[in-house]
C-alpha cells in the first residue's frame, strides 16, 4: 500500500506537485494518469525516496521507502528506461542490483526469462531497442519479488504485443494481491488496465475513483433521436421523465433511457423515427476535458481549419 498525504514538490517558484493525497491499495491496479508535465514522475521519484518532498509525506507499507530494510524486496520500480549504463549487459545490470539487496543470482535468470530477455542477456544494453529496454526495466522491478510494484510509463516504446503483455502482467500482479501503481498519459491504455484511477494535472489530484465510476461520471452518453415529429416526440419523452435537449435542426439528445426502450416508447405513441443512435463520448475525450486546463503546453490550433 502506498499512502501520499499533502505531498508537495516545488522547484524554485515552480510547483510540480501541489499537495496531493491518495492511497494505492493492494490487490488492484491503480492507474496514475495525467498529461505530460503533470507531476507523475516527480511523484513516483518521491515515493522511491529519490526526491525529497518540499512538504507532506509518502509511505510504502507504512513507512518511508528509505527506512525499508531491503527496499527491492518490498518495492519494485520501473523508472525511466534509460536508468541503465549502455555498456553493461542486461544480466550484469540485474546482477549488481540483486547484490545490493542480497537477492540470489538465480533470481536474475528467473526474471530475465520472465520478461523474455534470456537470449540477449549477455548483450550490451546500449544495443537494445526501446521495447527491450522497457522489458529490462520491468525485470528490475520484479527482481525482488516485491509486494508493491511501481511502473512509470511502462508501455512507452512497446509494440502492441508488448503493450498487451504489460497489461496482463499488471493485472496478474494485482490478482496475486500486490499493490500495482502504473503511470501513463494514455487514457485508452489505462481504461484497459486499471481498476482504480488517480488523475492529476498541474500537480493536483483531479479525480480519485474507481475506473467504472470514472466512466459513468465522465464518459457522457446520450441517445440521438431524429424525427419529422420532433415536438411530439420530445413531449412524449419528457412526460416519461427523460432529459431531452433540442439541438440544431431536428436533433434531440435524450438521456435517462437506453435506445431500444426509447424506440419502443416512441412507437407506442404512433410517432415516426428517422434516426436512433447511442452516442458515447470516449474516455479519451473525458480525460481531455478533465485535464484541459492543466495541460502545460497546448498545440496551437490554427484558425480556419475545419475540425
Amino acid at each position: 500500500m502506498i499512502v501520499a498525504s499533502g505531498l508537495t514538490k516545488t522547484y524554485g517558484s515552480k510547483t510540480a506537485v501541489d499537495g496531493i493525497s491518495f492511497t494505492v491499495e493492494p490487490g488492484r491496479v491503480t492507474g496514475f494518469l495525467g498529461p505530460n508535465g503533470a507531476g507523475k514522475s516527480t511523484t513516483m521519484r518521491m515515493v522511491l525516496g529519490l526526491d525529497r518532498p518540499t512538504a507532506g509525506s509518502v509511505t510504502v507499507n507504512g513507512r518511508r521507502y528509505a527506512d525499508s530494510p531491503a527496499p527491492l524486496r518490498e518495492v519494485g520500480a520501473l523508472l525511466e528506461a534509460k536508468a541503465v549504463h549502455p555498456g553493461r549487459s542486461a544480466r550484469n545490470h540485474l546482477r549488481w542490483l540483486a547484490a545490493t539487496n542480497g537477492i540470489p543470482v538465480g533470481r536474475v535468470d528467473e526474471v530475465l526469462d520472465l520478461v523474455g530477455l534470456t537470449e540477449v542477456a549477455r548483450q550490451r544494453v546500449g544495443k537494445f531497442s526501446l521495447g527491450m529496454g522497457q522489458r529490462l526495466g520491468i525485470a528490475v522491478a520484479l527482481l525482488g519479488d516485491p509486494r508493491v510494484v511501481v511502473l512509470d510509463e511502462p508501455v512507452n516504446g512497446l509494440d502492441p504485443e508488448g503493450i498487451r503483455w504489460v497489461r496482463n502482467l499488471a493485472r496478474r500482479l494485482a490478482a496475486e494481491g500486490r499493490t500495482v501503481f502504473v503511470s501513463s498519459h494514455l487514457m485508452s491504455e489505462m481504461a484497459l488496465t486499471a481498476d482504480h484511477l488517480v488523475v492529476i494535472g498541474r500537480g493536483r489530484v483531479l479525480a480519485d475513483c474507481s475506473m467504472s465510476d470514472f466512466i459513468a461520471e465522465h464518459a457522457a452518453s446520450y441517445v440521438l433521436v431524429r424525427s419529422p415529429q420532433r415536438g411530439e416526440v420530445a413531449d412524449v419523452l419528457r412526460r416519461h421523465g427523460l432529459d431531452v435537449a433540442v439541438h440544431e435542426d431536428d436533433e434531440l439528445r435524450v438521456q435517462g433511457l437506453d435506445a431500444p426502450s426509447i424506440g419502443e416508447l416512441v412507437g407506442k405513441n404512433g410517432l415516426y423515427l428517422h434516426e436512433l443512435t447511442l452516442v458515447r463520448s470516449s474516455l479519451e475525450d473525458a480525460f481531455m476535458t478533465l485535464t484541459a486546463d492543466s495541460v502545460e503546453y497546448h498545440a496551437a490550433t490554427p484558425a480556419g481549419i475545419a475540425r
Binding site: 521519484r45 522511491l48 525516496g49 529519490l50 526526491d51 525529497r52 507499507n61 507504512g62 513507512r63 521507502y65 528509505a66 527506512d67 525499508s68 530494510p69 531491503a70 527496499p71 527491492l72 524486496r73 520500480a77 523508472l79 525511466e80 534509460k82 536508468a83 541503465v84 549504463h85 549502455p86 555498456g87 553493461r88 549487459s89 550484469n92 546482477r95 549488481w96 542490483l97 547484490a99 545490493t100 539487496n101 542480497g102 528490475v140
Partner: protein, 277 residues
Amino acid sequence: MTMTPISRTVELDPNRNVPGIRRPGFSDTLRAEWIKFWTVRSTQWSVATLFVMGAGLTVLVCWAAAGELASETADEAAAAFVTWGLMLAQIAAVVLGAMVVTSEYGTGMIRATLAATPSRGAVLAAKALVLTTTLFVVGTATAFAGYFGGNPFLENEGVGVALSDDGVLRAMVGSGLYMAGLGLFAAAVGLLVRHTAAALSIVLGLVFVVGNMVFLLPGAWGEWIGKLMPGNAGSAVSSAASFNPMLLDPWVGYAVFIGEVAVVLLAGYLVLRSRDA
C-alpha cells in the same frame, strides 16, 4: 442490532522480521559496487591504460636515458626515473575515478543505485573503497613492473637503483597511494559537478596545468601555493627522487593532499545527501 465492522486486513509491524529475508548490509552494497565497477569496459580500459602507460613508459624512458644518466653531464638522479611512467598514467586514474561517479549521472543509473540502496553514505563509501583499493593495487603493481622492467637498463650503465635504496620502496607503494588519492579526488569532483567532461577538465586542469603554472607566481606565497596544489603535494610520495626541488617532503605532501581530497569528498557527500537524485 449493530454490526461491528471487521477489519479485512491484518496490521503488521512494518519493521517485522520476514523469514528468509536477510537485511542487506554494507557488504552487499560493496559487492554490488564491485560488480558494477568491473562490468563496464571503461574500467578495464582505464586499468589497462594505467598499467601499460605507467610500466611501459618507465621501461622505455629508462632504456632511452640510461646512457645519459651514466655520463658525467647527468644532472638528474637515476632514482627519479624508475617511476617516470606514473606521471602520465595518473591521467587514467583520474578518468577512472571521475567515471565511477559521473557515468551514473550521465546514464540516469544513479536513480537505480539509490533506489536499491537508500543510504547514500553507504553507496559513496562502497564506491570509494572499490575505487581506492583497485587503484592502490594497480598503481603499486605498475610501479613495481616499471621498476623491474626499467632498472636492468640502468644497471647495465652502472646507475642501477636498489629497492633498498632510500625512498625506492616508498615510491613503489607511494605510487599506489597517489593513484588511489587522485582517483578519489576525481570521484569527489564528479559528485559536485555530475558531468564527466567537466570533472575531467577540472581535475586534469588543476593537476597538470594550474599545478605547474602557479610556480611562476612571484615570491614566497607563489612558491607555497605551488607546494600545496593537490597534484604537487600528492605526487612527491610516488617518486624516489623528485624532478622538482620545490615540492614538500613526500609524506608531508601526501598528508596535505589527502586532507584536500577529504575536504572535496565531504563536500561531495553533502551534495549527494541533500540533492535530489
